[in-house]
């Protein structure tokens, strides 16, 4: 099973929707697409939507952290919607929730973003 990536930009936000499995074998494709999209634009913030993922391991966390590193010089922030509970637990245990904002599945994403940025 592979990975599906769709991105769109809205003002200072880059929205990233992923479907399928995010692991070591699919992360390079995602990374390349996002590195280019961010480098070639002036977006500040990245909003991942993982609701369509059927699996994600620490390779996916690497992708999220990598984007944080990419945009922090722009004072940007990274948000994640729809993270599976196993990965979310790892985020809290490792303290990554201090730098990456996890948005509840049932929250109004646009409202959370408006209040946060």
């Amino acid at each position: 099973m592979g990975i599906g990536i769709s991105i769109h930009m809205q003002e200072s936000l880059l929205f990233v929707n992923l479907t399928g499995e995010l692991d070591q074998s699919t992360m390079q494709k995602v990374k390349q697409k996002l590195v280019n999209a961010i480098d070639q634009s002036d977006v500040k913030h990245v909003v991942f939507n993982f609701k369509g993922l059927t699996f994600m391991d620490s390779s996916g966390i690497g992708i999220v952290l990598g984007r944080y590193n990419q945009i922090r010089d722009r004072d940007g922030r990274v948000f994640v919607v729809g993270m599976n509970p196993v990965v979310a637990k790892v985020f809290y245990m490792s303290g990554l929730n201090k730098i990456i904002t996890i948005i509840d599945d049932d929250a109004d994403v646009m409202r959370v973003l408006e209040e946060a940025i």
Binding site: S25, D57, S58
Partner: protein, 139 residues
């Protein structure tokens, strides 16, 4: 009931996905909830991915040995490589420690393996290889 599977997987990254399918296959008769299955699947994915990208550094000629035994509701998995090994296992286990920062590895693999297993062990020696063993009771 006892069940067991033994497979050898060439060290190609897509085989982490194959290993996840295998472990889901052996657990299927237990009717476990998604949360537990996801946890076990993630642990297997981390261990097999480590063997492939760290143990064999992506050399597809490397062989990862995968053994899973299910006794009743107790799962025991051994994932073994004959790759480069780990110099300092305790250091490697530290959260966010990674030797592959450029490749955007998060350094959370061992934390995941330790957190979602009942019993977890890593035995490694440089140039000999690494063996990860874990046990997990499926409720």
């Amino acid at each position: 009931m006892r069940n067991e599977i033994n497979v050898t997987l060439p060290a190609i990254v897509s085989n982490a996905s194959l290993a996840r399918l295998i472990i889901m296959g052996i657990l299927a008769p237990l009717d476990a909830d998604t949360q537990q299955l996801t946890e076990v699947k993630t642990v297997v994915s981390e261990a097999v991915t480590n063997a492939i990208i760290h143990g064999y550094e992506g050399n597809p000629e490397g062989i990862v040995e995968f053994n899973a035994v299910l006794e009743g509701r107790r799962l025991k998995v051994v994932i073994k490589d004959h790759g480069v090994g780990i110099d300092d296992v305790e250091l490697a286990k530290q959260p966010l420690f990674t030797t592959k920062e450029d490749e955007e590895r998060s350094g959370l693999g061992f934390m995941i393996m330790e957190s979602f297993t009942d019993d977890f062990e890593v035995v490694s020696a440089p140039s000999v290889g690494t063996t990860v063993t874990f046990e997990r009771e499926i409720l």
